[in-house]
């Protein structure tokens, strides 16, 4: 397929105009920043309608095959559309697990029937997906999953529970990692991977109330739940391999992620802008020398994080501990975000003590963002575990 620069330019202008003109008005309630924070029906419906509209107008799944509901064009168009979404700061697309993990997985290894059944619903947000990997007793240690699936005729009977299932209450399907054999050669070999229907009897997602006071996650209980054997991806015992493939989808490759904005991210520019508006003792916070010192420090750290990607492309500069940069991305970005949000509250004088309400600065989003930022510093291995991992695997320090 050849695409001319003129076509790209024209598409860029078209996408830019569409997102400018179609950016939804403020719904009158505070919106989540990621799919992990969707806590009310009105938030969910608002975001699902938005994704549906984006899809109907052809701006998501652009590079996915046309026969299954995608756009069938080059990935470069999707990248342009995604950039326009970020530029206009439109809401994110909530079907994150479907668009980024389940969809690419089904396109890569699913049957034609699977693709016909699932892909369009993922893109249109009619079929919401959730993820069932983590378990209450095995936070980051997926290989030790204990949730059991026992074959019975053309079904599997599932017992156990999964935790941190975002959108669990709204999901039609779950990508589920379950133990199908207790006698396997290793803990990994006993796992299998399913596209489990959430409406099956015996599956109960129970919302978990977060420290923000909102909902957004579920613990999903399986009580003799029966799911069709045909919903297995790959063969029995290949679940670990499939799960790892699911977690490593790269952008751009054929059958890659559907694209579109996955989160409303805060940047240091937002904090600087807040410092101009927020008042400390009657003056704009940005005039306070201590605030300025801290802001410059945060900008420096933020700049560093954005430079790391460029650094990683220069092997000659990755000398002593070459994996330090790649192993520390999540640690650096999640800790910076937590500190930025914490700092944003300090710009508000006594109003720093408010919480989500109309009197709070920006409706209390900074306070809520700070509390939510712990999802990054705890999820996927806490900051403290990250330090252990980097200390041991990168610096070669002994295990404790």
């Amino acid at each position: 397929m050849t695409t001319t620069q003129a076509e790209l330019k024209e598409f860029e202008e078209q996408a830019d105009r569409w997102f400018l003109e179609n950016k939804p008005a403020n719904p009158g309630f505070i919106l989540p920043e990621t799919f992990m924070e969707v806590g009310t029906d009105s938030q969910f419906e608002f975001l699902r309608d938005w994704q549906n509209k984006v899809y109907e107008n052809g701006y998501v799944g652009m590079a996915w095959p046309k026969e299954y509901g995608g756009g069938g064009v080059d990935q470069v168009f999707q990248d342009i559309a995604t950039k326009a979404m970020a530029k206009h700061r439109v809401p994110f697309l909530p079907n994150t697990i479907g668009l980024n993990w389940a969809g690419p997985l089904i396109l890569m290894m699913g049957s034609d029937a699977d693709k016909a059944k699932y892909i369009k619903g993922i893109l249109s947000a009619e079929d919401i997906w959730c993820q069932g990997f983590s378990e209450p007793d095995h936070g980051s240690d997926l290989g030790s999953a204990q949730c059991k699936a026992v074959k019975d005729g053309d079904e599997y009977v599932v017992n156990g529970s999964k935790i941190w299932t975002s959108l669990g209450s709204y999901a039609k399907y779950m990508i589920l990692l379950a133990r199908t054999s207790q006698q396997s050669s290793s803990k990994y070999a006993g796992l299998s991977f399913f596209l489990a229907p959430m409406q099956a009897e015996g599956i109960e997602p129970r919302p978990i109330k977060k420290l923000t006071g909102e909902y957004g996650f579920c613990q999903t209980f399986f009580n003799d739940a029966r799911i069709p054997a045909s919903s297995m991806m790959g063969n029995e015992g290949e679940g670990w391999k499939v799960a790892m493939a699911t977690l490593t989808f790269e952008r751009g490759a054929a059958g890659g992620q559907a694209g579109g904005l996955a989160m409303m991210d805060l940047t240091i520019d937002d904090i600087v802008e807040l410092a101009r508006r927020a008042k400390r003792n009657g003056r704009p916070a940005i005039e306070d020398p201590h605030v300025r010192n801290e802001l410059v420090d945060l900008i420096t750290e933020s700049k560093n994080n954005s430079l790391m990607a460029a650094r990683a492309k220069v092997p000659a500069l990755a000398t002593d501990w070459p994996t330090a940069i790649s192993m520390s991305g999540k640690l650096r970005s999640s800790e910076l975000k937590r500190r930025m949000c914490q700092f944003a509250i300090s710009l508000q004088g006594a109003n720093g003590a408010r919480y989500v309400s109309k009197d709070a600065v920006d409706g209390g989003m900074w306070q809520r963002s700070y509390l939510n930022a712990f999802s990054g510093t705890i999820g996927g291995g806490t900051t403290q575990i990250q330090h252990n991992i980097i200390g041991e695997r990168v610096l070669g320090l002994p295990k404790g």
Binding site: I286, E301, K303, L307, L317, G391, L395, G396
Partner: protein, 372 residues
């Protein structure tokens, strides 16, 4: 412009410099050199000249290689890693000042000599420790075709070895740069200073009674360029020093046992070591980003990148040196422990040409205030 570029030349220079400094500046060698008068062995200095390192930033028509300060960075970083002392940085800074602010005659006279191995130095700071290079008390009074200097300059590195020193002084109410040759210094003009980094040979230069031909005043007076070059090379030393001190830490944490365990298995030592690792990577990223931008035209971007690099590196290196001493326990309290060498180097780097708070204050207008 890419955010970080690293050229073939830089790659080769880094490889050569890493080997050269490892071979010529092992830590016991650094300790031996501390006891001697000079900051480096004369033979090693002439090898550095033979490698062409002194002429890197000097244009080809003056006998140099015609490369840039960005190409000096990998060399200085490698020296910093091995705490190698030498007049290399002051000489490069003086050559750079001549390239940027010197007249054709001044360049023709001095640059080929420097490229061939002559030592040069800079005399900028004064007794009050002010980091603002243009706020100086030293005076130069022009009378006929001579300029008479007065005042006192501090932290003049390797001054007795220098064939020429670039001195800042107020002339007719404006800060200017004057070349002072070794043979124009009265006896006793130089006094050795006691400084925290014992690998340095730092001197006070008393300007009283020094009169030089007025043609030795540099045509230009680009203090911003002098400051940027100094900050870039100090950050290069700090980036190297961070890697060097982290190796000292990791070596000890993986060999020293307490309570039947290697001390590196304790999280209270492991976690700060990771913090140092990430701050070292950050320092290197900021450093090579600043070096990359230098080739461009965006003055604000260059200044921001360089000040950010110095601010971040200063704090990171000082923290690493401080923790290195602490992690060595009782041994860390002794002169024999190498951690102190790095801590002392870090303190020198932190307080030369502005500490972190100073640069962050200057970054405020560049990063925070809307351009009107």
């Amino acid at each position: 412009m890419a955010t970080i570029e690293f050229t073939e030349e830089q790659t080769m220079l880094l490889e050569t410099a890493v080997d050269f400094c490892r071979k010529n500046s092992p830590l016991d060698g650094v300790r031996r050199q501390i006891e001697l008068d000079d900051s480096v062995d004369a033979g090693i200095w002439s090898e550095m000249a033979d490698l062409g390192w002194l002429g890197i930033t000097i244009p080809e028509q003056y006998g140099g290689l015609g490369l840039s300060l960005a190409d000096v960075v990998p060399i200085v970083e490698s020296m910093g890693r091995h705490l190698m002392g030498s007049p290399y940085v002051p000489t490069v800074l003086a050559a750079n000042a001549l390239v940027v602010s010197g007249s054709e005659a001044q360049k023709n006279h001095w640059l080929p000599q420097i490229a061939a191995g002559a030592v040069a130095s800079m005399a900028l700071t004064e007794e009050d420790g002010n980091w603002r290079l243009q706020e100086i008390q030293s005076q130069g009074v022009i009378s006929g075709d001579a300029v008479s200097l007065s005042g006192k300059k501090c932290f003049v590195l390797d001054a007795p070895k220098a064939g020429v020193i670039v001195v800042s002084a107020m002339i007719d109410g404006a800060p200017r740069l004057v070349l002072v040759q070794a043979d124009q210094l009265p006896t006793n003009a130089l006094t050795r200073e006691t400084v925290i980094d014992e690998t340095r040979r730092s001197y006070t230069l008393n300007l009283e009674g020094i009169t030089v031909p007025a043609v030795q005043v540099l045509d230009g007076a680009d203090f911003a360029s002098i400051e940027q070059a100094a900050l870039l090379l100090l950050t290069a030393e700090m980036a190297g020093g961070l890697a060097g001190v982290l190796h000292v830490i990791v070596d000890y944490l993986t060999t020293r046992k307490q309570f039947d365990q290697y001390i590196g298995s304790y999280q209270s030592l492991k976690h700060p070591s990771v913090q140092i690792l990430l701050s070292m990577e950050a320092c290197r990223s900021h450093l090579y980003h600043a070096a990359t931008l230098l080739a461009g035209e965006d003055a604000n971007a260059i200044e921001s990148a360089i000040r950010m690099a110095k601010a971040q590196g200063s704090e990171a290196f000082a923290f690493a040196g401080d923790r290195a001493v602490q992690f060595h326990g009782g041994f860390g309290f002794t002169y024999d422990c190498d951690a102190q060498l790095f801590l002392r180097r870090a303190l020198w780097c932190q307080y030369q040409f502005g500490d972190a708070a100073y640069h962050r204050a200057l970054l405020g207008p560049l990063l925070l205030d809307e351009v009107s």
